[in-house]
């Protein structure tokens, strides 16, 4: 199984999904395109490209050659980023960033407590001061005033 075969198949499946979802909107016709016209045209093109990738993939690298050694870090970073989506407006900017930074530095990178607290507090509160207070960029404050 080559990398291009897998990626081509995923792109083709995504194109099929878009074609299926586009049925909700009027297609129009060739001379008077409706809102679904461009998405259907583009999804059809993507489907062709995906199939071509699958068909011409024999010389691409094998799937097993891709190294995923950093996946633990990557998963933790993605999870932290997702956490900020749900927490920023509920807990406020400073508390959310404090928790995010502390988790990454202490739990993921296993640095010392002093380093973790200094960097997390410094960055969370420092960036808030710089952007909110000095540059007047609106950032959310949580129920605790953070």
């Amino acid at each position: 199984m080559t990398t291009d075969r897998v990626s081509g198949a995923v792109l083709a499946l995504f194109a099929l999904l878009v074609l299926w979802e586009s049925r909700r909107y009027p297609l129009g016709n060739f001379h008077l395109p409706g809102p679904a016209f461009a998405p259907v045209l583009l999804a059809s093109l993507l489907l062709i490209f995906g199939v071509l990738l699958v068909l011409t993939s024999s010389r691409a690298p094998q799937l097993s050659t891709i190294s995923w050694t950093e996946w633990r870090h990557a998963s933790a970073i993605l999870a932290t980023s997702l956490f900020t989506v749900f927490a920023t407006e509920r807990l406020g900017y400073r508390l959310t960033m404090l928790l995010m930074l502390a988790f990454l530095i202490k739990a993921v990178e296993r640095r010392g407590w002093v380093e973790t607290l200094v960097v997390s507090f410094g960055l969370a509160f420092g960036s808030f001061y710089l952007f909110y207070t000095l540059l007047r960029v609106p950032l959310p404050e949580g129920p605790l005033g953070f």
């Binding site: 291009d4 009027p26 980023s81 920023t88 960033m97 995010m100 960097v119 540059l135 960029v137």
Partner: protein, 511 residues
Amino acid sequence: MAETLHNLYIGFAVALSPNVLLYAFVGCVVGTLVGVLPGIGPLAGISLLLPASFGMDATSAIVLLAGIYYGAMYGGSTTSILMRIPGEAASVMTCIDGYEMTRKGRAGAALAIAAVGSYVAGTVSVVGLMLLAPPLASFALRFGPPEYFALLLLGLLVLAYMSGGSILKSLAMATLGLLLGMIGIDPMTGFFRFSYGLVELGDGIGVVPVAVGLFGLSEILLTAGQPTPPEIKKPRLRELLPSRQEWRDSLWPIGRGTVLGFLIGIIPGSAHIISSFVSYAVERRLSKHPERFGQGAVEGVAGPESANNSATSGAFVPMLALGVPSGPIPAVMIAAMMVHGVSPGPLLIAQQPQLFWGFIASMYVGNVVLLILNLPLVGIFVNVLRVPYPLLYPSILMFCVLGVYAVNGSVVDVGIMTVMGALGYVLRKFDFETAPVVLGLILAPMMEMSFRQSLSMSSGSYHIFVNRPIALVMLMVGLALLLLGVAPWLTKSLDWRQRFGLTSGEEKEGL
């Protein structure tokens, strides 16, 4: 010519006002830092400061953001030369001979040549921008929807053709980007497309969360957990003077890199990256001693560094004159200008000469600032790299979240950034280019609108695209590029991109 000089005088009056000068300086400093730091490129840097620019006037905002762009080109060379770590993608070629020069004790000379080359290229290419943008803008006044559609389609095809790697993969990525651009309210009929109940998607997916996700976050995901950078070699100030022979060897590469970079910069795509690859290949080919390349040849530093700086000015030509972004960075800058009520395009130069000429003049000033910053203060900038990466990447992530959230004050954008980060991580693992996705996303609404407006103008007849000469020429050029891209695959021969090292043989065989 007299009119140009008069306009430039007006521009310098704007650029040398204390306010604008301060923002040019701040932009250059931030840009240099962004360039020095691996994992955060000019796009993430510009996106980060975009919300902070909302409170400024349009000229200051655009000067600040442009300063970050070309500042990053300067800064990127520092880590390439001293540590063999490209601070940003355009500096990859500088790593090869720049680091070899460092190993031979010529780090100072390499940094000086890179800075002087960047300065010369930056300054000369602004002259090109100054001379080329106004006539191009006048010409673009003849453009209607069919011409714009043809131009945008040509832009995407050029990008796919110029991108490193397989043209098929690049086309697939551009199409994916165009599809993402379909999300939101259809401007012609008012239908809410692919929004799944999220009101925030009414205006479509923003370019900032997608760009920061695909470039910034995916870079963090790929590099976190990797071994920490090697020890930094810090050159002394007195070592910064290149020898007479090094100056002589660099003279023509700087000149060629400047011209090449500017011309490539005008063409859509990741111009600054491609230009440095092409410049390196050209210098190696023209050299009487090509075997010196890879062993610390000063031409291998001078050419690519000049080219990537020159390409940044070239990229501003279609942005300012046509209102068409040639890549993700000009696209974010167009978004910034629109926030301030400025519409880049053919009328910009006529209607807002102070902004245009002030911007041009600020680039001259910015290049001087960068030359001063990058030589004596190089030691200060490399100190940033002493921060251990396990502490550095959480801070970069925080700034990514902050920058993306602050644009619209929406956590949905942060969610989009996260999804795009994961997508970019996987795409890069599978050897896909992510720049076409961003360009596709930006061009999609403009392309669809001009396509449908063209058909409305012609009562549904597609002849409108071939009856109008400008549109026809652009479509023919696009078709020719497509055929050129496919031809080597069919004939199993090498094309120029492969010879210049933009693709590997393996990739090419897979189209």
